[in-house]
């Protein structure tokens, strides 16, 4: 089940994977597990402070039933992690081998505002991932965690790890205190773009703002179905802020954002831009063009049409068959079920792209 290193794909001339799972979710390592990767000061401080990890904030914000479905609560031992990858492998679309798994650790890092603590934890998690996870299976790829509170420190971390080709992306939570198109975040994009790393923006996150413009919703249902609105805010902000003029090589993956909302988003932003572009003169072409060139979205249980006809229309309206990427959200089961159901609706001609081709083309390091 787990490829031996001796049978490793030759990374210099890899056989193309026939399936790329763009989102395999790992639990955050415990503080003891991070100890080998933390400076002594932080080891001692975190022990004396009784710090158990920022990810407890995540636990408290998701309904337990969804956490159980997501398979959280497993240990981050080698066996536990292998189980996650094994689950991901077993979730490949039928007949698609070999595979690549994009691994992402749930850290809740952005809930820590101490700049030095969050930087130390970020580095420790990244080093742990490289050392403990990516070595388990040569098909695994990693996501670099950084804190969006400190863009300069984040850029430094990205450059530190840039040489490790097993990292394919940098992750940011979609919910944050300010929209990601603001120039303060540009150091992150610059470092990522120059290293051929995609910036992956994922569902959730912790922020001073509620995830809506109208206050805090009562039910998880509202938060969940409403998360695309936050993704839409970020997509608009990145485009209008000129991130893609500043960094033409910048690429953004939306992880677990849904996608059926994309046509109505593009129509509205294009329409508004035609009259108001002069406020942002660096946006010198239709915003939807930036969407097609610089964004990709994963298949997600969050939304999606109910039948193949609607799916074909939505994909046509998106204006490109290349925008979707397969993701199981393993070890969760619901996400995988939905991905399978959605994949079945994708027109035959576009399916190989969704399963692997689109991600392979989009991620410079795959």
């Amino acid at each position: 089940m787990i490829a031996e290193l001796e049978d490793a794909q030759d990374l210099s001339s890899p056989r193309p994977a026939t399936a790329i799972d763009c989102d395999v979710q790992l639990p955050a390592p415990t503080v003891p597990a991070l100890r080998p990767y933390l400076p002594t000061y932080w080891c001692d401080y975190l022990r004396s402070a009784g710090f158990t990890g920022a990810h407890s904030a995540i636990r408290n914000s998701y309904p337990p039933i969804l956490q159980r479905d997501a398979g959280w609560g497993g240990e981050e031992t080698a066996d536990g992690l292998s189980r996650y990858l094994g689950a991901a492998e077993a979730s490949a679309p039928a007949g698609a081998h070999p595979q690549i798994f994009m691994c992402r650790v749930h850290t809740g890092l952005e809930s820590i505002r101490h700049p030095d603590m969050s930087a130390a934890l970020a580095s420790a998690v990244n080093d742990w991932l490289a050392d403990q996870v990516l070595t388990l299976d040569v098909r695994a790829r990693g996501s670099i965690v950084v804190s969006p509170h400190e863009p300069e420190l984040a850029a430094r971390e990205i450059r530190r790890l840039g040489g490790n080709q097993r990292f394919a992306q940098v992750v940011l939570p979609v919910r944050f205190d300010q929209p990601y198109g603001e120039r303060q975040f540009f150091p992150i994009y610059g470092a990522a773009a120059e290293n051929g790393l995609v910036v992956a923006i994922h569902y959730g996150g912790f922020s001073v703002n509620p995830p809506t413009s109208i206050g805090w919703p009562s039910h998880y249902m509202e938060e969940y179905i409403g998360m695309p609105h936050v993704f839409q805010t970020q997509m608009a902000s990145l485009i209008l802020g000129g991130a893609f003029q500043e960094f033409p090589k910048l690429r953004i993956a939306f992880i677990d954002a849904g996608f059926a909302w994309l046509p109505s988003f593009m129509w509205r932003l294009d329409k508004d831009w035609k009259g108001l572009w002069r406020e942002v003169p660096w946006v010198d072409r239709l915003p939807s063009r930036y969407v097609r060139e610089h964004f990709r979205l994963t298949l997600s249980p969050l939304d999606g049409p109910q039948d193949a006809t609607d799916m074909a229309q939505i994909l046509e309206q998106m204006g490109s068959g290349s925008l979707l990427m397969y993701a199981t959200g393993r070890p969760g089961s619901w996400a995988h079920e939905e991905a399978t159901a959605l994949l079945a609706m994708v027109p035959d001609g576009l399916r190989p792209g969704v399963i692997a081709g689109n991600a392979r083309e989009f991620y410079p390091r795959l």
Binding site: R183, G241, G242, A243, Q245, E246, W273, K274, G275, L276, W277, R278, V280, P281, W282, D284, L286
Partner: protein, 151 residues
């Protein structure tokens, strides 16, 4: 067949100036851009707004966020409604010059003497502006005139 419509003396529409006239029931805006005259239909191709009443702005370029260069010379007309911008000299929209444009008319500047001769040759009156203006446009040999060509 295209008819010539005298709409103003050249003095009436100085540089940066404009005059909106009715020709055969069509409202048309005549603009002086750097000494040359251009005529555009006063009806935005989007939803029919009074395009020629809009602001005139220059040309802006920004290769990156924050790096804005601006040439203030009159170049674009902004529709007062949704602010769509049209190149004054070609009528083409800024955002989709190939497919979205405002109707443009040929404009010439002609001397009063030549116009009077032409009119005399055709045996008719010099074409006037608008369906509701009864008086003919007086043309004198000393002046130059802005002439819009409308079918």
């Amino acid at each position: 067949m295209t008819a010539k419509h005298v709409v103003a003396t050249t003095d009436e529409i100085p540089p940066q100036g404009r005059k909106i006239v009715d020709i055969n029931g069509r409202s048309i805006g005549v603009f002086n851009v750097g000494g040359s005259y251009y005529a555009i239909r006063n009806r935005c191709p989007h939803q029919g707004g009074p395009l020629c009443e809009g602001e005139i702005v220059g040309t802006v370029r920004a290769s990156r966020p924050g790096s804005i260069s601006y040439d203030p010379a009159a170049a674009y007309l902004q529709c007062p409604w949704h602010n769509w911008e049209f190149d004054l000299m070609s009528g083409r929209s800024w955002f989709d010059p190939k497919r979205v444009r405002a109707r443009q008319y040929r404009v010439s500047v002609e001397a009063g003497g030549a116009l009077r001769e032409e009119s005399a040759g055709e045996g008719g009156e010099i074409p006037t502006e608008g369906p509701y203006v009864v008086e003919s446009f007086p043309v004198s040999v000393e002046e130059n005139y802005v002439v819009v060509h409308v079918r």
